[in-house]
């Protein structure tokens, strides 16, 4: 049937075995190497501030079974979700307005850049005194961390929408609202999503920093207490939980990103 395949030494490209490099599971290997390094350095260093991974994991199991993690995690996730939702809605609205209208950019640009670069935790005492030592202050800190990177990415995404698409829409009678909704937002979406990905990571940072500072609820509260007792294993155990939260949040955003930007041509990347 297929003379070509039967001839010795001639292989069809599709049947060629995948090279070991392509089969390499890069992420699990890297994680395993990191865990091994942590364990090893922990044992060798033998200092109380850097316990080996096994000690930290044992402590994590302990405090989880005591119910401390789940209760605090719930509170933290509420802070994160509320702060990120506010950042997303306000960030998109301000970003679109700044990207589309020069006057808005001139008026707000200076604040946005100032607050993006300012260390956000500086504002925690202000919120603390204005909003009290409750959830509101922590959510405000999350917004300070997450919103401005979304604003700036959205503004430049809107600015880089090709002018000919806007002109096309106008020629078919689209008004400003439809141009924004049907042309500019979808065209800008891939770049907006890049800002949202950065924003969600910063939101997790804001959540834990806010909770550590205001220290009444959430994982940050647990960290502060453990830190006061010089219980490094517990601090690192909570840190692992925080990292898991951050990775899940970023993973969620990436899943949404892939769904809404399926039309974007893939760039070529090495394996």
């Amino acid at each position: 049937m297929s003379a070509l395949a039967e001839r010795p030494g001639v292989r069809r490209p599709r049947e060629r075995r995948r090279s070991p490099w392509r089969r390499l599971p890069a992420a699990p290997l890297s994680l395993a190497a990191g865990a091994a390094a942590w364990e090893l350095i922990g044992h060798l260093a033998d200092v109380s501030f850097f316990p080996p991974l096994s000690t930290v994991l044992a402590r994590l199991a302990d405090i989880t079974s005591e119910g401390m993690i789940l209760g605090s995690l719930g509170g933290s996730l509420i802070n994160l979700a509320a702060g990120f939702a506010i950042s997303l809605v306000a960030g998109l609205a301000i970003g679109v307005a700044m990207g589309r209208y020069r006057k808005v950019e001139a008026a707000l640009g200076i604040y946005v850049y100032a607050l993006l670069t300012a260390p956000s935790l500086v504002f925690a005492p202000i919120f603390f005194s204005l909003l009290g030592a409750g959830r509101g202050s922590i959510i405000a800190v999350v917004v300070m961390y997450a919103m401005f990177v979304i604003v700036i990415n959205t503004a430049s995404a809107i600015q880089s929408v090709p002018a000919h698409l806007v002109e096309m829409a106008r020629s078919y009678g689209a008004g400003e609202g439809r141009i924004l909704l049907r042309v500019m937002l979808p065209a800008a979406l891939p770049m907006i999503m890049a800002g949202v990905r950065l924003g969600v990571g910063r939101a997790v940072t804001g959540m834990i920093n806010g909770e550590m500072f205001i220290a009444v609820v959430g994982l940050g509260h647990v960290v502060t207490e453990a830190g006061g007792r010089f219980d490094s294993a517990e601090v690192l155990a909570v840190l692992l939980v925080v990292i898991a939260v951050a990775l899940s949040a970023v993973g969620l955003v990436q899943a949404v990103d892939r769904r809404v930007t399926r039309w974007v041509p893939k760039t070529t990347r090495g394996h």
Partner: protein
């Protein structure tokens, strides 16, 4: 059908000088005429088209369509763009239906009309593809179908085949002629190709640059329909003669401009 009276458009260039993109343009386009506009780059031919489309303001003069002054874009005009201007996230069907959607046509009706135009431009079977999956020629077929979908009285085409390869361009020219012979409408077609201007047009408007104005209007008395035998038409004495004449005039313009280009 279209009357343009004393149209002038200036804008301030990067060095602060006033540039006359258009100066005192007078032009009448007849109902169902195929008018081609030819000129060197910078002669304001795209500016003229965008003014007719109602996309840009001008300083002086009037544009009337059936006696009604142009104040902005309108449903009587459909535009085809040089770089296609398709929405990359939308399917062929949604791109063709875009103009109808902006005009508030309901979903079932606009999809039905879009499908029939997709068939007209030979893209049946590609309704669910996105622009990125199509060749340049196919993308411009989508652009033409989108413009025809709104059933315009005037079709405005801004160098529509300037961004496709030569073979595709020739195929698209023939197809455009076929479509226009079937459903007659007024066409204003911008091009920088003399051959294209003569092959398609009833008249060729020759524009000169700096300031942009009409240098001459050259009638093209070639018989119609032209789509059936483009090859014979291109070998005809009349076609060769008009094309050669247009090139002589264009070369004169380029030579007049050369000192100006050196000076500034």
């Amino acid at each position: 059908m279209i009357e343009i009276r004393g149209l002038s458009k200036t804008f301030v260039g990067q060095d602060g000088d006033t540039v006359h993109a258009l100066r005192d343009v007078d032009l009448d386009v007849a109902e169902n005429e195929f008018l081609t506009v030819l000129g060197p780059s910078g002669c304001g031919k795209t500016t003229l088209l965008k003014a007719i489309a109602g996309l840009i303001p001008w300083n002086d003069g009037d544009i009337l369509i059936d006696g009604t002054p142009v104040r902005g874009p309108g449903p009587d005009r459909g535009m085809v763009f040089q770089n296609f201007a398709l929405l990359p996230w939308a399917t062929v069907l949604d791109n063709v239906a875009f103009g109808l959607k902006m005009r508030g046509v309901g979903r079932s009706e606009r999809e039905e009309r879009a499908r029939s135009l997709i068939a007209l431009v030979g893209l049946s079977g590609f309704e669910t593809k996105r622009p990125g999956e199509l060749s340049g020629g196919m993308q411009q077929r989508v652009g033409i179908a989108r413009a025809l979908a709104v059933q315009p009285r005037v079709l405005l085409m801004d160098e529509p085949f300037g961004a496709v390869d030569e073979q595709t361009r020739r195929l698209l020219q023939e197809e455009l002629l076929t479509i226009w012979e079937k459903r007659r409408m007024t066409v204003v077609f911008i091009t920088h190709s003399m051959e294209e201007a003569v092959l398609l047009g009833d008249r060729v408007v020759l524009m000169s640059a700096r300031p942009g104005r009409i240098a001459e209007i050259v009638p093209v008395p070639l018989r119609r329909p032209r789509s059936s035998d483009v090859g014979a038409l291109e070998r005809s004495g009349q076609y060769v003669e008009i094309t050669a004449y247009l090139w002589d005039r264009l070369r004169e313009m380029h030579e007049e401009q050369r000192p100006a280009e050196v000076a500034g």
